[in-house]
Amino acid sequence: MSVEFDEGVAPVPERRSFLGLISGLIVAGISAVLGVTIGRFSIGPAFTASSGQDWTELGPLDEFAEGKLVKKNVIVSQDAGWGKFQSQRSVWVVRKGDDVKVFSGVCPHLGCSVNTRADKFICACHGSEWNDNGDTLAGPTPRGLDTLEFRVEDNKLKVKYQDFKQAITEKQVLS
C-alpha cells in the first residue's frame, strides 16, 4: 500500500483502550436490538398460526330429509400469516329423527372422495362401501366412515371439520 507520508510517524496505539471498549459496546448494543427484533419477527408468528376450524353452519336441521344421504360443502379456513386461506371440503349428513350423523367426505382408505349409490356410501377408487350409519360393508377400507363433531344451535346444524389419518384402523385427527 502506498502512502504519501511516513506511516512510522504515528505509533500504533494499544489495542486495549477505553474508546475501543465504548465502540465495542455500541456495536454490541445495536446488534442486540436488531437481533432481538429479528428473532421476534421471524419466530413469533410461527406460534400464532392456526388451522383449527370454526363451526361451519350447514343449514336448518329440519331441511335435511329423513334418512337421506345429503352432501354439503363446508369452507375450511387456515390462518396463515397475511391470509385466511379457504378451500372447500365435502361432508355427508344423515338425519334419522333426532339422530344425526355427519361424515367426512374423505375416504378413510386412501383419501378419495366418498359418494353415494342408492342408500349406501361408496368410494369408487377401490370399491369400499358403507351403510348410512358409516359401518363398513365391503372393500379395502380400514375403518368405518369418519364422523365429525357437530352441534345444533337454534335448529341450525353446525359442524367442525377435521381431517383424519388414512389407511389405519384407528380414527386419528391429523394435526
Binding site: F5, F41, I75, G81, Q86, Q88
Partner: protein
C-alpha cells in the same frame, strides 16, 4: 489481598489462553494482518467528526440488507397479495413495525447521508488527484441509491406507491427515442401490473444490492489505496493518527446516534401504509421528498420541455459530477479559494431544498390540491389505524364467502353441470369456472340463457355438450339466476 491476587492470576491465565487461541487462528487465517490493515490505517490530520459519513453509510447499507432480508420472510411480490403482506408485517408481526420502520427510514437516511457525503467530498476538494475513481464510484452509488428508492417505493402496492410509480414510469417513457421501449422493459408490458411488481422486486432485492455491494467493495479498496485526503488546510499535516481507536470511536458514536434516530422515527412516526392501490381512483400522486425538486421543476416545463427537468437536468448533473475530477485538475482544495465550485454546490443544494419547500407550499396553498391531499392523508391514517385483517384467499370458497352466505346451487345444476363446472361453479380442467362470469360484459341473465342454448353467436370457442338445451326451462332459469350470484372477489 490474597483474594485479589487469585483474581489477578486467573485473569492472566485466561488472557494467555486467549492469546494462544488468537495465535492459532492467526496461523490459519492471517487475522492479525487483517485487523492491522483494518484498524491501523493512518489518518493525516487526525481523527475527526467530519469523517463519519462514510462509516454511517456503510452501517446504513448493512441495516438495509439485514432488515430487507427479513422483510421478505413475509412479503409477497404479487399485486394480489403485496399490500396484505405489508399490512401484516406492519400491523401484526411482532417487531414488524420496527423492522419495516428501520428499512423505511434507513432508506431516507441513506439518501440524505449519501448526498451529505458527496457534498462534503466536493466541498473539501477530496475528489481531486488520485481519488478520481473513488469519487466516480461514489457518484454511481448515489444513482443506485436513488434506484433503490424508486423500486422500493412500489413494493407496498398502496395508493401512493401505485400512482407514484405510474408517474415515474411515464417520465421514463418521455425520454426521446429510447423512452417508449425503455418504459415497456421497465414495466414488463404497457401497464403497471403484477409483472411490474415482480421485476421491481427482483431489481430491488437482487440486482441493486449486488451492484451496490460490489461498488462498496471497490470504493473501500480505492479509499484505502488513496488514503484519506485529510483536511483541506495543512495546519495539522504533521499530526497523524490511526483509524483505531479515536476514529473508530467517533464513527461508532455517530452510528449510534443514527441508529437511535431511526428507531425513534420508526416508533413515533411509523412508516406509512395507505389503502391498497385502486387504479380507478383519482389519487393525487406526489413523489417522495427527494424527488420533489424535479417534480417542482416539471411544473415549469410545459409540453415537450418536460424532458428538461426529468431527463436532461439529472443527466447533465450526474454526468458533470461523474466527470468532475477529470476536469478540475487544480490542486487547490480550500473551499473559499474555489469560489465557483463552492457557489455551485450551494446553488444546487440550496435550490433543491428551496424547490422542495416551494412544492410543499404550493400544495398547501392551492385549495383544490390541499383539500385532496388532506383527504388522502386522512384516508391513509384511517386505514393505518384499522387493525390488521387477513386477506381471504381461495378461489370459489372465497368468492362464496365474499358474496355473503354461500348460496347452494339449484339441484338441476348439480345434476347437469357440476360434473364439469365444479360443485360450486369453480370450474375444472375440462370446463371454465362460472364465478364472476355475470360481471363480464354481455353476460346479463338473458345473455346467459341464450349462451347456454347456443354459444356460437357469442363467439365462444369450445361449445358445451348439447346438454343444456334439454333442461326444462324453469330449471334453466334457476341455474342462470344462481350463476348471477357467483361474484368474483
Amino acid at each position: 489481598m490474597l483474594f485479589a491476587g487469585i483474581i489477578w492470576k486467573n485473569k492472566i491465565m485466561a488472557e494467555s489462553k486467549l492469546n494462544k487461541l488468537y495465535d492459532w487462528l492467526d496461523e490459519r487465517t492471517g487475522i492479525k494482518e487483517i485487523t492491522r490493515e483494518a484498524l491501523d490505517e493512518p489518518i493525516r490530520g487526525g481523527a475527526r467528526w467530519a469523517y463519519v459519513f462514510g462509516s454511517i453509510l456503510l452501517f446504513l447499507f448493512a441495516i438495509q440488507v439485514v432488515t430487507g432480508i427479513f422483510l421478505t420472510m413475509y412479503y409477497v411480490p404479487s399485486a394480489d397479495h403485496a399490500h396484505a403482506s405489508v399490512s401484516y408485517i406492519q400491523k401484526a408481526v411482532p417487531g414488524g413495525a420496527l423492522l419495516r420502520g428501520l428499512h423505511h427510514y434507513g432508506a431516507t437516511a441513506m439518501v440524505i447521508l449519501a448526498v451529505a457525503h458527496l457534498a462534503q467530498t466536493f466541498l473539501f476538494g477530496a475528489y481531486k488527484k488520485k481519488r478520481e475513481l473513488l469519487w466516480a464510484a461514489g457518484v454511481i452509488m448515489l444513482l443506485i441509491i436513488f434506484a433503490f428508492s424508486f423500486t422500493g417505493y412500489l413494493l407496498p402496492w398502496d395508493q401512493a406507491a401505485y400512482f407514484g410509480t405510474k408517474v415515474g414510469a411515464s417520465i421514463a417513457g418521455e425520454i426521446p427515442v429510447v423512452g417508449p421501449v425503455q418504459q415497456r422493459i421497465m414495466l414488463g408490458g404497457n401497464d403497471l401490473t403484477t409483472v411490474t411488481l415482480s421485476r421491481f422486486f427482483t431489481t430491488h432485492v437482487f440486482l441493486l444490492p449486488l451492484g451496490l455491494a460490489a461498488l462498496v467493495g471497490l470504493h473501500l479498496y480505492l479509499f484505502r489505496r488513496a488514503t484519506p485526503a485529510g483536511p483541506f488546510h495543512n495546519r495539522d499535516d504533521k499530526k497523524i493518527e490511526r483509524f483505531y481507536p479515536k476514529q473508530v470511536f467517533k464513527d461508532s458514536v455517530a452510528i449510534l446516534i443514527c441508529f437511535v434516530a431511526l428507531v425513534a422515527a420508526a416508533k413515533y412516526w411509523p412508516a406509512e401504509l395507505g389503502p391498497v392501490a385502486d387504479p380507478t381512483s383519482d389519487y393525487l400522486a406526489r413523489p417522495p421528498w427527494y424527488f420533489m425538486p424535479l417534480f417542482q421543476l416539471l411544473k415549469y416545463s410545459p409540453g415537450k420541455w418536460a424532458i428538461i427537468p426529468t431527463v436532461v437536468l439529472p443527466a447533465v448533473l450526474f454526468g458533470a459530477l461523474f466527470l468532475l475530477p477529470f476536469f478540475d485538475r487544480r490542486e487547490e482544495r480550500h473551499p473559499l479559494r474555489r469560489p465557483l465550485a463552492t457557489a455551485l454546490l450551494i446553488l444546487i443544494l440550496g435550490g433543491s431544498i428551496g424547490l422542495i419547500f416551494l412544492a410543499r407550499h404550493q400544495d398547501r396553498t392551492n385549495p383544490e390540491f390541499a383539500e385532496k391531499l388532506k383527504q388522502q392523508e386522512e384516508d391513509m391514517h384511517a386505514y393505518f389505524a384499522k387493525p390488521f385483517e387477513p386477506q381471504i384467499v381461495g378461489g370459489a370458497a372465497a368468492a362464496l364467502a365474499a358474496s355473503g352466505k354461500a348460496q347452494e346451487p339449484p339441484p338441476a345444476y348439480s345434476e347437469n353441470c357440476a360434473a364439469c363446472h365444479g360443485d360450486n361453479g369453480e370450474g375444472s380442467p375440462i370446463a371454465v369456472g362460472l364465478i364472476g362470469v355475470s360481471s363480464k360484459p354481455q353476460r346479463s341473465k338473458e345473455d346467459l340463457l341464450k349462451i347456454l342454448d347456443d354459444a356460437k353467436p357469442y363467439g365462444l370457442k369450445k361449445p358445451m355438450p348439447e346438454s343444456f338445451p334439454k333442461i326444462p326451462p324453469e330449471d334453466k332459469q334457476k341455474i342462470v339466476e344462481w350463476m348471477m350470484t357467483l361474484k368474483a372477489q
